[in-house]
């Protein structure tokens, strides 16, 4: 078997393993965020989590297979390893970018959800009696 086919074999094996590992990490740790975002609605959180991971797999495997072709000839093991290293590096950078993009989506969803329960932005200047209510400050003081 020539060097380039062996390189392609290693490239696919390493890329697939990395993608599965990152997707698994995302799936496991993203769930906690999503359960919080959906106020403890676990079935919905699991569903959204799963859909996100499917998208993650599709984009990454799509990139891995598009970037497979080397386009030049590899004559010895050294050149094979260099080409492999370059390709794996690109896959890692794309995975990293996707991973941070996912984190950004999680944190944005969480922020959106927390805004509905946000306390008043400023402290009151004073307290006054309200007809029908007794004087009972529930937060902060002047």
């Amino acid at each position: 078997m020539d060097v380039i086919v062996v390189s392609y074999g290693f490239y696919l094996a390493i890329s697939i393993a990395l993608t599965v590992w990152v997707a698994h990490t995302l799936h496991k740790n993203g769930r906690i965020f999503l359960v919080d975002v959906f106020h403890g609605n676990e079935p919905l959180a699991d569903s959204v989590n799963h859909l996100l991971v499917v998208g993650f797999y599709l984009i990454n495997f799509g990139y891995v297979s598009l970037a497979l072709k080397l386009g030049y000839d590899v004559r010895n093991a050294r050149e094979g390893i260099e080409a492999l290293s370059w390709k794996i590096g690109m896959v890692l950078v794309v995975l990293g970018g996707m991973h941070f993009f996912n984190l950004y989506i999680f944190s944005r969803m969480r922020r959106r959800a927390s805004i509905a329960d946000a306390p008043p932005p400023v402290a009151p200047d004073a307290y006054t009696a309200v007809r029908g209510h007794t004087y009972a400050p529930t937060h902060g003081s002047v």
Binding site: A116, P121, P124
Partner: protein, 125 residues
């Protein structure tokens, strides 16, 4: 907090325009509008200094918390679904002084601004 009472200056056109705008927006917290120094306002808040409420916008929470001037404006924004994020952003330490200054300026010149708006409308016609 489920409800905020807004004591506004009913003799000012700009304030009534703002009231209409606030009423038309979807809310997190219910807003009740009561004309400042009206009998209704005095009935609801017997201990409040009502003369002060004519000088600037006042918002009172259902827990009796009184927000006056720029803080009252921020509380109105906070009540609105689409603007709560803005109220939080504007009341961050970096932006709050500027926000207060701008709101105070608008509030203190509300009658003049209303006049300006009317002149602009007349000239546009």
């Amino acid at each position: 907090m489920r409800q905020l009472t807004v004591l506004y200056d009913a003799s000012c056109g700009l304030c009534k325009r703002a009231q209409g705008w606030l009423m038309s927006k979807p809310k997190h917290v219910e807003l009740i509008f009561v004309a400042a120094t009206s009998d209704e306002a005095r009935r609801r808040f017997p201990q409040l200094n009502h003369d002060l409420t004519l000088t600037d916008l006042t918002v009172i929470g259902d827990d009796g918390a009184v927000y006056f001037g720029p803080k009252a404006w921020l509380m109105c924004l906070w009540a609105l679904r689409e603007y709560r994020e803005w109220s939080l952003r504007l009341s961050s330490p970096a932006l709050l002084p500027t926000a207060k200054r701008v709101i105070s300026t608008i509030s203190q010149n509300r009658y003049q601004l209303e006049g300006l708006g009317r002149v602009a409308l007349r000239e546009a016609r």
